[in-house]
Symmetry: C2
Subunit: 225 residues, 2 copies
């Protein structure tokens, strides 16, 4: 239900910070999401260290958006770090791009999650105009999940209706970006991605526990209330 996004700021407290964070939140979360800033800060070694700290899934949110060969090489590099899934953009298309990525995914066991919509305003400028095609592409490519923003619950609802239950929906935008914990779950998401609200807290473990509690409260209300 809860995925913690670890996006280290440029001037960050020691790497030990991550160990403390994971020990604090691990029992409350379904997995972790790391991005390019994490990679630049900690490198491949950082991913391996995170892997040793938790048995929960690690999602590499590199927002891959390149030709097939490059995305494929990237996934092969990630495969031996213990990463479980990568996030890629649907926008690059199937032929010569996602087609190749999905093949590599099957060989390496690293899952693919496609961006169907984003949490910022600019997502409306181009990406959201193709939401139907992106959702069809997710089904065609047989990816394990898509990303849809908690900041726009109707996009999540729409995606859930169109996709049915088989494809997981990961939803960023909870907390600092404005959406309430549990709101995306109620709209049909499987996981809510929370970053600074937890990682920025003085007590990340306690923050994660609280987010989890709010998620469960709201979820049980919207499903059984």
């Amino acid at each position: 239900m809860l995925v913690v996004a670890i996006d280290p700021p440029v001037r960050e407290e020691k790497d030990k910070r991550i160990d403390i964070l994971v020990r604090g939140v691990d029992e409350y979360v379904s997995g972790y999401k790391i991005g390019i800033p994490f990679l630049l800060k900690h490198g491949k070694q950082g991913i391996r260290r995170l892997r040793r700290l938790t048995e929960k899934p690690i999602i590499a949110d590199l927002k891959l958006a390149d030709i097939g060969d490059i995305m494929s090489t990237t996934v092969k590099h990630l495969a031996n770090t213990g990463v479980n899934a990568v996030i890629a953009h649907a926008f690059v298309g199937y032929n010569g791009a996602l087609e190749t990525l999905v093949k590599t995914s099957m060989v390496t066991g690293v899952g693919v999650i496609l961006v169907a919509s984003m949490s910022h305003d600019g997502s409306r400028e181009f990406i959201d105009k193709h939401i139907d095609e992106f959702l069809d592409l997710a089904v065609k490519a047989g990816v394990e999940g898509i990303v849809a923003p908690a900041t726009r619950p109707n996009v999540i609802r729409y995606a859930r209706e169109r996709l049915g239950g088989s494809i997981k929906i990961y939803s960023p935008g909870i907390g600092i970006q404005g959406a309430e914990p549990g709101s995306a779950l109620c709209a049909g998401a499987n996981y809510e991605i929370v970053g600074r609200l937890i990682t920025g807290s003085k007590n990340p473990g306690e923050a994660a526990r609280e987010v989890r509690e709010i998620q469960l409260k709201r979820w049980s209300k919207c499903h059984h209330g």
Copy 2:
């Protein structure tokens, strides 16, 4: 005129390989392009090492396609490695994305190059449908360059006509991907990005010299012949 793309394969010869490569090709090239595979293989330290090996511009081709805050954090991380420019996708839009990236670019001095079109087939599925909007966005955002594929010279010609001379055009797809050296320059590109044709050669320096020679021959023909 010539930018060398360094995309290390997963099982790569020692890191020293890059030192040899750069020493061999440096006199023939205008700059270097590194991607996520390079980052995963060599980390930030690898970029710093490359920086010490050459005074030519280094372009970080991360195909950034995230919300503004994340792209901004990424550029701040890269700024202190000696990277001169980053490649980002136009399709994430301006509001809350490129708008933020361009501001950070002005503060850090790391230039922004926007993907207007790509070299693979799938580029036609979504990206190429927005080429006009992407080119207008490049002008609006005031980026230093765009990326357009050598594999589709008319896209380059079209972009050059629409952009005028102020914005640089970087063109991948030369060599293994099919386009002839010099062909993108003749279509209106400022730089041709060449990877495996040079980096895969037993003698990269000689390969770069040859590519340069073919570029100049074709270029002088199409401009004065």
